[in-house]
């Protein structure tokens, strides 16, 4: 009992710190630990990680709002897509057996890693020339943020809004089905498709994850997937970790943020795929 609590607390501090820095929900870290290290049913892993996502989101959002890193309008606009996707996804969960969930989840992780790697090698952390599309103007999505690493205010434009909206629909679906915030998808939509800088993408993803997850969390709460002995120490650890991570993130160069993540995502993704095939490591 005490061991479980301590493990979840530590996992929480780690997942919260990393999750806040990268804008991808702690769920990506928590799910493998609950299923692989603790050997529990994927149902409880999904329940725990959905709480992890909400705790990371709410914990880091406090600092990101105060320091004006995130883009509230982009978040609100895209949340229409993610919340709809999340409802559909949560209703579909029971329809798939764990094997498919493991493979899907694993493939998702491997793909995010590949995506991060490509971005790093294109060396495009610097500001790009982006022309705002008509949707960005109509919905007032263009904004600016203060980068504590570069120590200056950075204005940015947003493009490919419809494409970003579609990716978000998929992100919501994945969140509902797998219990992850699918932050990688969200960062991909904003940083990749919509050409927002990495830090506001990541901070906005953090904010959005919470709402997407909350949409499906009530489903898991009432069907008993969220165990208090796992969820509470995890959430407490994450709230502390994400408060720390959201401050560290603002001082890190964007390049470092990508470098940290490539191996972690790849490792966890392959591990989950192997688990799906019955190979426990």
């Amino acid at each position: 009992m005490l061991q479980t609590a301590l493990l979840m607390l530590l996992v929480g501090v780690f997942a919260g710190t990393m999750g806040a820095i990268l804008g991808i929900g702690g769920g990506m870290i928590v799910t493998p630990i609950v299923t692989l290290a603790m050997g529990l049913d994927i149902k409880y892993a999904i329940g725990a990680s959905i709480i992890a996502v909400i705790a990371t989101s709410s914990g880091s959002t406090i600092a990101f709002l105060k320091d004006d890193v995130l883009n509230l309008r982009v978040a609100m606009f895209l949340e229409i897509a993610t919340t709809i996707g999340a409802i559909v996804g949560a209703l579909l969960t029971g329809a798939f057996d764990p094997f498919i969930l493991y493979i899907l989840f694993g493939a998702l992780l491997v793909f995010s890693s590949w995506n991060m790697y490509r971005k790093l090698h294109r060396g495009e952390e610097g500001l790009q020339k982006v022309t705002a599309d008509k949707w960005a103007k109509k919905f007032k999505l263009n904004s600016s943020y203060y980068d504590k690493n570069l120590q200056k205010q950075i204005d940015y434009q947003v493009e490919n809004v419809p494409q970003g909206f579609l990716i978000m629909l998929g992100a919501g679906l994945a969140s509902g089905m797998l219990g992850i915030g699918s932050g990688a998808f969200k960062v991909m939509a904003m940083d990749g498709a919509m050409k927002m800088p990495l830090k506001p993408s990541s901070a906005t993803s953090n904010l959005m994850m919470g709402v997407t997850a909350a949409a499906s969390a009530t489903v898991y709460f009432f069907n008993g997937s969220i165990r208090p002995d796992l969820a509470v120490p995890l959430a407490l650890g994450i709230l502390g970790g994400s408060a720390l991570g959201s401050r560290i993130m603002q001082h890190l160069p964007s390049r470092i943020i990508r470098i940290i993540f490539i191996p972690i995502l790849l490792y966890l993704g392959l591990q989950m795929i192997l688990k799906g095939f019955g190979v426990a490591i």
Partner: protein, 120 residues
């Protein structure tokens, strides 16, 4: 553009303050239940069971059962992002940004539908 910036800053400060209060209350309730659970070694419920219905959690909290407090705190935590959306509607309204009052209200509506779906 300038006005949009200033408006956003004000909106963000309002939402940030309320989020902080929400998260703090949820964390304190979880922490109280968690400490009681660790100290007494009892969850207040037989075996590995825990309450998931709101009424059962409410009664459990009144009886100071650790698992009820913990689940109650978790439930409040789940509500914090939803609270954030509600406050956003108010904040956008206060700044006369009616386009975003509509967008945020739509998000809230979808969230409410998902909560209703979740109760089934």
């Amino acid at each position: 553009m300038k006005e949009t910036r200033k408006e956003m800053l004000e909106v963000e400060i309002i939402i940030g303050k309320i989020m902080r209060i929400g998260v703090l209350i949820s964390a304190l309730i979880m922490l109280l239940g968690f400490i009681m659970f660790l100290v007494t070694g009892h969850s207040g419920y037989p075996g590995d069971s825990f309450p998931t219905a709101l009424l059962a959690i409410y009664h459990g909290i009144l009886a100071f059962k650790p698992y009820a407090l913990m689940m109650g705190g978790v439930y409040l935590l789940i509500l914090t992002p939803i609270l954030r959306v509600v406050i956003s509607i108010y904040a956008f309204y206060k700044e006369n940004d009616f386009l975003y009052v509509k967008i945020t209200s739509l998000v809230l509506l979808i969230l409410i539908i998902s909560v209703i779906v979740g109760h089934k």
